[in-house]
Amino acid sequence: MKYVDEFRDGELARTIAARIAQAADPGRTYHFMEFCGGHTHAISRYGVKDLLPPNVVMVHGPGCPVCVLPIGRIDMAIELALGGHSLPSPLGEGSGVRVNNITLCTYADTVRVPASNGLSLLKAKAQGADIRMVYSAADALRIAQEEPEREVVFFAIGFETTTPPTALVVREAARMGLANFSVFVNHVLTPSAIAHILESPEVRELGTVVIDGFVGPAHVSTIIGSQPYEYFAGEYRKPVVIAGFEPLDVMQAIEMLVRQVNDGRACVENEFSRAVTREGNAKAKSLVADVFELRRAFEWRGLGLVPYSALRLKDAWAAWDAERKFGLRDRRVPDNKACECGAILRGVKKPVDCKVFGTACTPETPMGSCMVSSEGACAAHYTYGRYRSAA
């Protein structure tokens, strides 16, 4: 397949692997965090680990949009979708308007994330909620146009990559005066999450998480550009190499990171130059700025409340904001006690460090979000790599 096979070439991979092995100083260990779930997935699916020397260690980051969605936000979506149905506590009394003609449109793997009371969107669907999987925000808008008797809510999640399409449908809905459409916004920001990790006690004080550099986001960076990472590289002295999601991209980024560490440099380099510029996509950025504003704080699974790390609709677009339209109240729900997703998302623990990994928690019966999405660290290790840890 043209334009894909070139980036998965085994021979080139061996060449880069040899260069990494040669460059890596045997007297030290290199710990690099791949921020994005897309990288985690590529590393596991193509067996990138097998091509790295033992002293180059990859640490999974929190960049999986489904994984970082906290239980509380999913509970809110479920409650909304179940509409007139009464929910058992501790969700408590419903908030705002009770409507039973809600159609909740969601990206696919969100439906399996476990929420409170043994529910998930998939289970809510089985209970009668009208929950539909869509491939894009535009599909949700189309459903609202085609079914004017339904209150169509788009469950918008994701990092900067999925934010511009959401902005676009909000503007489009406003232009058409589409009153039966709204968006439940859960868009989060990559730079805030990276800063939060670098500021965490595990990294700064306890030293339990060693990070020598970052494999920087691919698709996110096509929107925001490479410039936002310059602050981390300078302020925290951590090299960042923006890399594409193909396995050769990852290999090359790792080589560039090893060389930066060896040279004592800490700058932003761009391996993914075929798609990413320093400034990013100006049109997408202005679209987002027109429709969204920063939330003061937002809860991330694993990271807790992170200041200025998420977006909400500006007042001008309030009519299309599901939270305001239906009076949804934000709530915080603690993760399952046995689940280590939080520590795994911060890079503090590995999937196999979790007691329920592969026993109570599997892709069929996920207890935590990291086991749900194919980009989650636990699902990736379970699906592609668990033979490595099976004695």
């Binding site: 397949m1 894909v4 998965r8 070439d9 085994g10 991979a13 061996r14 692997a17 897309g38 997935h41 596991s44 699916r45 193509y46 067996g47 990138v48 680990k49 097998d50 091509l51 949009p65 489904v66 990206y107 696919a108 793997d109 969100t110 439906v111 399996r112 999987m133 869509v134 491939y135 599909d139 999640i157 994701g158 990092f159 990559t161 999925t162 698709h219 996110v220 396995p247 050769l248 599997t362 892709p363 069929e364 999405s373 194919s374 980009e375 699902a379 379970y382 699906t383 592609y384 790599g385 668990r386 033979y387 099976a390």
Partner: protein, 349 residues
Amino acid sequence: MTAPRKDYVRPIDFKRGVVDMSHGSGGRAMAQLIDELFLAAFDNRWLREMNDQARLPMPQGRLVVATDSHVVTPLFFPGGDIGCLSVHGTVNDVAMAGAKPLYLTAGFILEEGFPLADLKRIVESMAKAAVEAGVPIVTGDTKVVEKGKGDGVFINTTGVGVVAEGIEVSGDRARPGDAILVSGTLGDHGVAIMSLRENLTFETTIRSDTASLHTLVAAMIDAVPTVHCLRDPTRGGLATTLNEIARQSGCGMRLEEARIPVRPEVAAACEFLGLDPLYVANEGKLVAICAPDDADRLLAAMRAHPQGRDAAVIGEVVEDAHHFVQMRTGFGGSRMVDWLAGEQLPRIC
């Protein structure tokens, strides 16, 4: 004035008519539908007897029986429809025992309001597939459910076949060292179907591979009567089928990604949908496992058959207490090819 013609019944309007509850009521309307549609299309001496059952001669060897219910959406897709699929699927399930399929039964569950024109197309496609396979549909049943209680049409088919004494093909017979073969490119059917699913319409030239594989199986059994396992990787794709066999046989498997045949169009469609072709359904492909010494002969027999032109050896059976299916990736690393978890869902970003 001429007297009304005796026994005259106005023919069914196959152009504009729809299924109604009377078509399943056991009355005259049902009898007419059977006469004008099912009997006309499937015509054979057993059906012509008009009994509620077929009386068949006992064949030599051991009987093989398989049943399959078909609920595909959409009903018509590039390369086939639910009708021919319901014949191919069951013929193949019987054939995968190394057997010769002999007869089929067909049970229809129709939804009230379903266009008779579509039903006719489906039934005629089934009849054509049965004739091509040389496997007659010898008895059947029709029921109608109220509108909203079905999805147009569901078809159950049961197949009966015969396997000679001495042919022992079974999913528990894979042994470490055995070769793993596939008969051709993977994922064609699933991608053809997905290209038409709601919200997912994309243009493609990919056609479903739906086909009866029993003549290919016969050629393979002829060449290597001791073939250990045969299975058609339908739902869940190759990955699921290999995991099933690994568990049944108590062994592991090691695949070479570079040797697994996948059409570039299928690979491309899977790429942008975020799917893995190893998990996508096939309806006209099979997996074979045989002793290493027989692999060349089996591969040659497969390639000599039109349905096995792209056949390939893709890996080997290994000892593994965990029954893992592992794969050396084209990239040079290793990974597992696990059971499918839930449904294949597209990635977000």
